[in-house]
């Protein structure tokens, strides 16, 4: 089977990853912290190609929460990119963003959400929004391509205008589901 079938990603014709990149530029984002996800692969490539953005690949997502609190303390604006499974890794560290009133926009590509193949993705995917909200994060969702840019823009505005963690969940329906060749 095709190796590409193992990792789902938006098809080449979808341009919502480029619209996210444009939105990050509009908001003056200079630090991009991430644990890679196939759904964000195109956005990550755009950010890596931008000399005005510092892309930091983390060993675990909670590092990005602390890093972006530090960025804000130094006057820089950042964004955290991750897959829904990474939200669980961030739970306690979100305390810092809440306590320190630090803008912390998170762009989360969903797994275990729509047509999932891998049973291990379901528990955290199903809990992603509840966990974020339990830790004081304002959560908005996009399940259609036309909604992605406005939802990301709204998520960034909420974070930087009101000083708190916010998240945009990008539905699995937009990204596709892994099939392992079984479709």
């Amino acid at each position: 089977m095709d190796r590409d079938a193992l990792e789902m990603r938006p098809d080449a014709a979808s341009d919502w990853p480029d619209r996210i990149y444009d939105t990050l530029k509009t908001h003056g984002i200079t630090q991009v912290a991430l644990v890679p996800d196939a759904g964000h692969a195109r956005l990550i490539r755009r950010c890596q190609a931008d000399s005005a953005m510092r892309v930091v690949t983390l060993t675990t997502e909670e590092e990005g929460v602390a890093m972006l609190v530090g960025a804000w303390l130094g006057g820089a604006k950042g964004v955290l990119l991750m897959q829904s499974s990474g939200v669980g890794n961030c739970t306690n560290m979100l305390s810092l963003a809440v306590l320190h009133r630090a803008p912390l926009p998170m762009l989360v590509t969903m797994r275990g959400d729509f047509g999932e193949f891998n049973p291990a993705q379901v528990p955290m995917g199903n809990a992603t929004q509840a966990v974020l909200e339990a830790m004081g994060t304002l959560v908005r969702r996009a399940d259609e391509a036309k909604d992605v840019a406005p939802v990301v823009d709204g998520t960034l505005r909420l974070a930087f205008n009101t000083y708190r963690p916010t998240a945009a969940l990008i539905g699995q329906r937009l990204i596709g589901a892994k099939t392992f060749g079984k479709d």
Partner: protein, 199 residues
């Protein structure tokens, strides 16, 4: 078997922060936060009250945001052990203006003095070196502190130091607890009054 460390944590921090100039200081939760406060609370201090395992990464984000300022993270062995991956992240980024100092008493002193992994031979400086921070050192005597202090202000590469200190608690000297206040005063110290009008 090496003898137990004798360096006093408060004396160590006082020396490292002597004539600190515009040094920005982040302290991990617990005793490290009390230590930087005992040395003199000021707006350029960011003492953490939570987020265990976040101190070094907070320092990285700050150091990348303010490449012309020197950033010092002071934290404990327990807090650093929770964030070994952060050493790899920092080792890859190589911020020249960031120093991480671990005050290593080989115990969780805030929770009853339970032993940490460093008590059993885990070498944080070796881990940091392996993670890509070549200047990773262990300081055991007061005679090495002035050199470390100087390097914090001058190093041309990220610096990691484990300072072996005596176990036991120093008197509590608590920093402000309100995070919004700590953030606002720190940002004003770095950015001036523009900090409060950033869009």
């Amino acid at each position: 078997m090496p003898t137990d460390p004798t360096l006093d944590r408060r004396a160590v921090v006082r020396e490292l922060l002597r004539d600190r100039g515009d040094l920005l200081v982040v302290a991990g939760l617990g005793a490290s936060a009390w230590d930087i406060t005992a040395a003199g609370d000021c707006p350029a201090n960011l003492p953490l009250w939570g987020g265990m395992g976040g101190a070094a990464m907070l320092g990285l984000g700050l150091a990348l945001a303010q490449p012309k300022r020197r950033v010092l993270v002071i934290t404990g062995d327990g807090e650093m052990l929770m964030a070994l991956g952060a050493l790899a992240t920092i080792g890859v980024q190589k911020p020249v203006n960031l120093t991480v100092v671990v005050l290593d008493n080989e115990h969780y002193s805030e929770t009853g003095g339970q032993e940490t992994a460093t008590r059993h031979g885990v070498d944080l400086a070796a881990i940091a070196r392996g993670a890509g921070i070549p200047d990773s050192r262990i300081v055991r005597g007061a005679e090495d502190l002035p050199g470390l202090r100087s390097d914090i202000h001058r190093a041309a590469a990220p610096l990691f130091a484990v300072v072996k200190i005596a176990a036991g608690n120093a008197p509590l000297v608590l920093p402000p607890r309100e995070g919004a206040f700590l953030t606002a005063r720190f940002r004003e110290a770095v950015l001036g009054s523009a900090a409060h009008h950033q869009l």
